[in-house]
């Protein structure tokens, strides 16, 4: 029992933190930032699985998240299908879509792979912008409330709880994956494709599956965000958004699940802290990225490693 507790110590700490922190929220706005951070963190953990373990850079995840969200929203708001079913259909579609494009994309490496994902993401952005009759075009479209089994998610607290639960589930799933034979193959792929092939694992298949998982997680979080904010626009699919997600992962610490979480929280909260600097926001954001990449390429979680608070594998 003690052994089990030790292993989930970090999850317990996270749950405690998630329960306690809302008591410090001064108003609704804090909830919104928190929920956004949690949803971003979910996308980032999926993206981290792809980048840190399968070693594939994706510069298009904003596009994938947005595409999943748009499909969910269009099915529920325009075609009147129940939100939960729309979400399910969207996720199944996105899994299929990701699987199909993963085949040609994952044959590429390094820069070329990054550019291919960028290309897909931008094409999604342009398409969503152009198909105004379906998507509302550049102005975006409104989204109805998320209802499931008659239960409505209509308050910040409910969304906070849902997002927190989703985050915990994603983290637990991630940890289960990493600490399993499947995960060992993923970690192996990161070091040596040949070694992994030589023990009987089809590297291409694993990379493909990880890509699909990361896209589906992104689509899920993206859809949740659309329901929460009641609105969706093409900006969610933009290159800027995709960069934002990648920066969160790398900033926090690539290959580390808590790195992805930290990075997401830090870079979601940061712009809010910078609003007093108004016009200088973008500049400061850029400068921070530059400095972290120059001097802390392993991410800000490396600071926590040095303080001995985290071990280097989570």
């Amino acid at each position: 029992m003690a052994q089990a507790v030790k292993q989930i110590k970090d999850i317990l700490f996270l749950i405690f933190f998630l329960i306690v922190i809302p008591f410090f929220f001064k108003n609704d706005f804090y909830y919104e930032i928190a929920i956004l951070s949690l949803l971003n963190a979910i996308i980032c953990i999926g993206l981290n699985l792809l980048m840190g373990y399968a070693g594939q850079i994706s510069l298009g995840h904003g596009g994938f998240a947005a595409l999943g969200a748009y499909i969910t929203v269009i099915l529920s708001s325009i075609y009147g299908i129940s939100p939960a079913v729309s979400l399910l259909v969207s996720l199944v579609f996105m899994a299929f879509f990701a699987f199909v494009i993963s085949k040609p994309i994952l044959k590429l490496e390094g820069h070329y792979l990054a550019m291919a994902t960028l290309g897909v993401g931008v094409i999604i952005y342009i398409t969503v912008n152009a198909q105004a009759d379906l998507t509302g075009g550049p102005d975006g479209m409104g989204v109805d409330i998320f209802k499931i089994f008659g239960f409505e998610l209509d308050s910040n607290i409910k969304w906070y709880i849902l997002s927190s639960v989703l985050l915990i589930l994603v983290i637990v799933t991630f940890k289960n994956i990493i600490n399993s034979p499947y995960g060992r193959i993923l970690r192996g792929i990161h070091d040596s494709n040949q070694a992994v092939s030589s023990v009987g694992a089809d590297v291409a298949k694993y990379k493909s599956y990880v890509f699909v998982i990361s896209v589906v997680i992104a689509a899920l979080a993206g859809s949740m965000y659309a329901f929460f904010s009641g609105f969706i626009s093409p900006a969610e699919a933009s290159f800027n958004r995709s960069i934002e997600l990648v920066v969160m992962v790398v900033f926090g610490g690539i290959g580390r699940v808590y790195g992805a979480l930290l990075g997401a929280i830090f870079l979601t909260v940061l712009p809010q802290l910078l609003t007093s600097f108004e016009d200088y926001q973008t500049l400061i954001y850029g400068v921070i990225i530059i400095f972290v990449m120059m001097f802390m390429p392993k991410g800000i979680i490396s600071l926590f490693d040095k303080l001995g608070k985290t071990n280097a594998h989570s």
Binding site: I177, N179, P181, I185, H190, Q194, A195, Y209
Partner: protein, 272 residues
């Protein structure tokens, strides 16, 4: 165990392997030697599915005890005695009982030595994605069972001390051994060693020689690509010599040592 028939590999205009044929009998050590650039690694890469074959076939025999009609592939195949494994990719070959080690170490540096061995047991472990995500009993049992098995292997080679050390902190000699152990963990029927003692000192070379000989004695078929002639002469049952992609000579070690063509190829015609 293995039948290689008229294998060819062309890279553009270059014939790296030119109509090479040889057979490997079960439980024997069959060495492939030849000067640098003779095409040995290309040959191994074709057999293990890393390079595609330009022409020729590779067959895997199920059971050497049953006499095979060498020239009659079809009959042999119909009776289920041999399987055509030409151009099958490496990861699929592992499941047919073939595995290999690499000339340039392919070790997963960020994992512990123990985990590298556990990788070798991969084909016996469950990779079902649902079970993985939910961390079911099966997964937990697999992890425990194969950690124990991996430890047993390390014990056999007196490496238990470094079990939990990160692989990229270990010495070259140890890593070479680790790769061999990992290959053995896949419980193969045929194992190909690509220069397993390159860069090792005489003591380490001896240790590995011993391991390979024992492995063959246990019934595994071995193909050994090596430059270390002392080792090759000592442990080989049969030797195929390659030069310029072609088979130069074939026979038992004593025959090869006295073969004029072989001596000429290695040392120049002055010595023949």
């Amino acid at each position: 165990m293995l039948i290689v028939r008229e294998l060819c590999k062309n890279f553009g205009g270059l014939k790296a392997v030119d109509e090479l044929s040889f057979n490997v009998k079960r439980g024997t050590v069959h060495s492939i030697i030849g000067p640098n650039g003779a095409g040995k690694t290309t040959l191994i890469n074709m057999i293990t599915g890393i390079y595609s074959v330009t022409s020729g076939e590779i067959y895997l025999r199920k059971d050497d005890d049953i006499k095979c009609v060498e020239e009659d592939d079809i009959k042999d195949m119909i009776h289920g005695h041999r399987e055509n494994i030409t151009n099958i990719p490496m990861h699929k070959l592992v499941h047919k009982g073939i595995c290999r080690t690499f000339q340039h170490l392919e070790i997963c540096g960020s994992m512990s030595a123990l985990e590298n061995i556990m990788l070798g047991f991969d084909k016996f472990m469950s990779k079902n994605i649902i079970q993985t995500c939910l961390r079911t009993k099966r997964i937990k049992e697999d992890e425990k069972k194969f950690e124990y098995e991996a430890m047993k292997y390390l014990n056999m080679f007196n490496l238990e001390k470094i079990a939990y050390k990160q692989a990229d902190s270990l010495s070259y000699g140890v890593l070479k051994k680790l790769e061999i152990i990992r290959a053995l963990a896949t419980k193969p029927k045929l194992i190909l060693f690509d220069e397993p003692v390159a860069g090792l000192n005489p003591k380490e070379t001896d240790e590995i020689s011993q391991i390979i000989k024992e492995v063959a004695n246990e019934g595994l078929s071995v193909i050994l690509v090596e430059h270390d002639m002392k080792m090759v002469m000592k442990i080989s049952d049969e030797i195929t010599v390659m030069n310029f992609g072609k088979k130069l000579a074939y026979g038992k070690p004593e025959e090869i040592a006295n073969n004029k063509e072989v001596i000429k190829a290695y040392l120049g015609s002055n010595y023949a």
